[in-house]
Amino acid sequence: MCLGIPGQLVGLDASNPHLAVAEVSGVRRTVNVGLLEEQQLQPGDWVLIHVGFAMSKIDETEAERALAGLRLMGRAYEDELESLRASLEGP
C-alpha cells in the first residue's frame, strides 16, 4: 500500500481530465492524475503511483531506478502488482 510504483502514461482521458491510462509493469490501468493537474501531463510522462493515484511526476531515469528497486523487494512488490491486476478484473 505504501509502495510508489512508476507508471508511464499512454493516454489521457479527454472527457475527464483527472483520468489517464498508465502502463505499470506491463499492465494498463486507469489512474487518477487529479493531484498533478498543474504538471500538464502528456503521454510518455512517468508518474509515481500510490493506490491508483499519481502522486508525483518523475523522469525516466528515476522510473528505471525505482522499478529496479521494487523488483528487488520481491514479494512485497509482487503482492502489490497482484492486487493491482485483481482490481482491474473487479470483485
Binding site: C2, L36, F53, S83
Partner: protein
C-alpha cells in the same frame, strides 16, 4: 556477487562508506530512519552491516500498518461482521492481529471482506452493489490520505449513499515530535521519509533543527540514497550546521504537492488524539472526516466498540517502533512471532522492522563481504 550488482554503483557505495567512516571518526552516532520503506531498503541491502559500527540506524514509526493499535483492528472487524456490509481493505491490513483474530479470520467466519488496491475500487464496489453497505478501511500517512480524500469527493459528487470510510489516516509530524520529546533515548538526526514528503514537502520538518537542534535529510529508497543521506547528516554535524536538507530532490519538492494538501484540508480535520501502537496517545496525530462528510464516516454511521486494547504482554513492538530495541532483541522474535503467525504489527507488514529483519537480516554479513568492506 549478487549484492554488488544490487548496488547500482558499487564504486559510489564504497566511496560513500569511506566518507561516512571518515566523518564519523569513531564517534558514536544514532540516526532514525522514519519511514518503513527505508527500513526495508536498509535490511534488504545489508546497510546496517556496511556502516562503521559507531554509526547506528534506529527504525522509526513510519509504517502505517505497524502503528495501528489492536482496538482499531477490533473496530474494523466489528464493522466487517455487520450484516449487509462489504468491508474493503488494503491487503496489508488483512493479517494484522486484533484482540480476537484478524480480518482474514473474520472473512473465513463469513464476513464479506474484500481486499482492494485502491479506495476507488471500494467506491466501485459500492456503486455495483447498491443494496449493500460498503466500508473502506482507510490507513496510511499523508502518502495515501489524499487518495481517500479524492475518493470521498467523488462519492459525494456522485451521491453514492452506501459508501463510507473507517478512517485511520495518521500524520507524520506528531510521532517525530513525540520521539524527540521521549526521554528514552538520544538521536543525532533523522532520515526524513521520501514518499510522505512528496505530499507535505520539506517545510513541516523545520521544527526539528529549529526547536530540537537535530538535522534532517529527506532520503530516497535506493541503498545509495540512504548512504548519501547519512553522509549529508554527518557533513552537517561536522560543519556545525543543523538544517532540513533534501537528498531526494529528484522526486520531492520543497513545497510538496499543494493540490494534495488542499484536498486533505477540504475533507479531513485533525482528531484531538489518536492511539499509536507502542507510542500511546498522541494529540492531533490522526485525521477524521470533517462534519460536511459525516454521512460517509463509518464511525458516525455505525456503532463501533471503540475499546482500547492493550498490546499482548510478550510483544515489544512499542520498543521496536521507538527504536529502543532492535527486532531480534524482542523475546518472541522469530519464535512465537513470525511473518506467518505474527503477534505484533511490526512482523506483519513487509515494511515493518521485524518482518524486514526476519526476511533479510541474515544477509547483512553476506553484503558486507560482497561489497568488500568486511572480510
Amino acid at each position: 556477487m549478487r549484492f554488488v550488482d544490487e548496488y547500482r554503483d558499487p564504486v559510489a557505495a564504497r566511496s560513500l562508506l569511506a566518507l561516512i567512516t571518515e566523518l564519523a571518526g569513531g564517534e558514536a552516532f544514532k540516526f532514525m530512519e522514519v519511514c518503513g520503506g527505508h527500513t526495508h531498503t536498509i535490511y534488504r541491502h545489508g546497510i546496517e552491516h556496511l556502516l562503521p559500527e559507531s554509526v547506528q540506524l534506529v527504525h522509526g514509526p513510519g509504517c502505517p500498518v505497524c502503528v495501528i493499535p489492536m482496538g482499531r483492528v477490533d473496530d474494523a472487524i466489528s464493522l466487517a461482521e455487520r450484516p449487509g456490509v462489504i468491508f474493503t481493505s488494503f491487503g496489508d491490513m488483512m493479517r494484522v492481529p486484533g484482540s480476537r483474530g484478524n480480518l482474514l479470520a473474520a472473512k473465513a467466519g463469513g464476513a464479506d471482506v474484500r481486499f482492494v488496491y485502491s479506495p476507488l475500487d471500494a467506491l466501485r464496489i459500492a456503486t455495483e452493489n447498491p443494496d449493500r453497505e460498503v466500508v473502506f478501511f482507510a490507513v496510511g500517512f499523508e502518502t495515501t490520505a489524499p487518495s481517500t480524500a479524492l475518493t470521498l469527493l467523488q462519492a459525494r459528487a456522485r451521491g453514492v449513499g452506501n459508501f463510507s470510510v473507517f478512517c485511520n489516516h495518521v500524520t507524520i509530524i506528531p510521532p517525530i515530535k513525540a520521539i524527540l520529546d521521549s526521554p528514552d533515548f538520544r538521536l543525532d538526526g533523522f532520515l526524513g521519509p521520501g514518499h510522505v514528503s512528496t505530499v507535505i514537502g520539506q517545510r513541516p520538518y523545520r521544527f526539528v533543527p529549529a526547536q530540537y537542534r537535530k538535522p534532517l535529510v529527506t532520503a530516497g529508497f535506493e541503498p545509495l540514497d540512504i548512504l548519501q543521506a547519512i553522509a549529508m547528516l554527518l557533513t552537517q554535524i561536522r560543519a556545525g550546521r543543523c538544517e532540513v536538507e533534501n537528498q531526494y530532490s529528484r522526486v520531492v519538492r520543497d513545497e510538496g504537492n499543494p493540490k494534495a494538501l488542499a484536498v486533505l484540508a477540504e475533507v479531513f480535520e485533525l482528531r484531538p488524539h489518536f492511539e499509536w501502537r507502542g507510542l500511546g496517545f498522541i494529540s492531533q496525530s490522526a485525521l477524521r472526516l470533517r462534519h460536511e462528510f459525516a454521512e460517509f464516516d463509518a464511525e458516525r454511521r455505525y456503532e463501533v466498540p471503540g475499546v482500547r486494547v492493550a498490546d499482548p504482554k510478550a510483544c515489544q513492538c512499542g520498543e521496536v517502533l521507538k527504536g529502543v530495541i532492535k527486532p531480534w532483541q524482542c523475546k518472541v522474535f522469530g519464535t512465537a512471532c513470525t511473518p506467518e503467525h505474527p503477534i505484533g504489527t511490526c512482523m506483519v507488514s513487509s515494511e515493518g522492522a521485524c518482518a524486514a529483519y526476519y526476511n533479510f537480516g541474515r544477509m547483512h554479513r553476506e553484503a558486507a563481504v560482497a561489497i568488500g568492506t568486511k572480510a
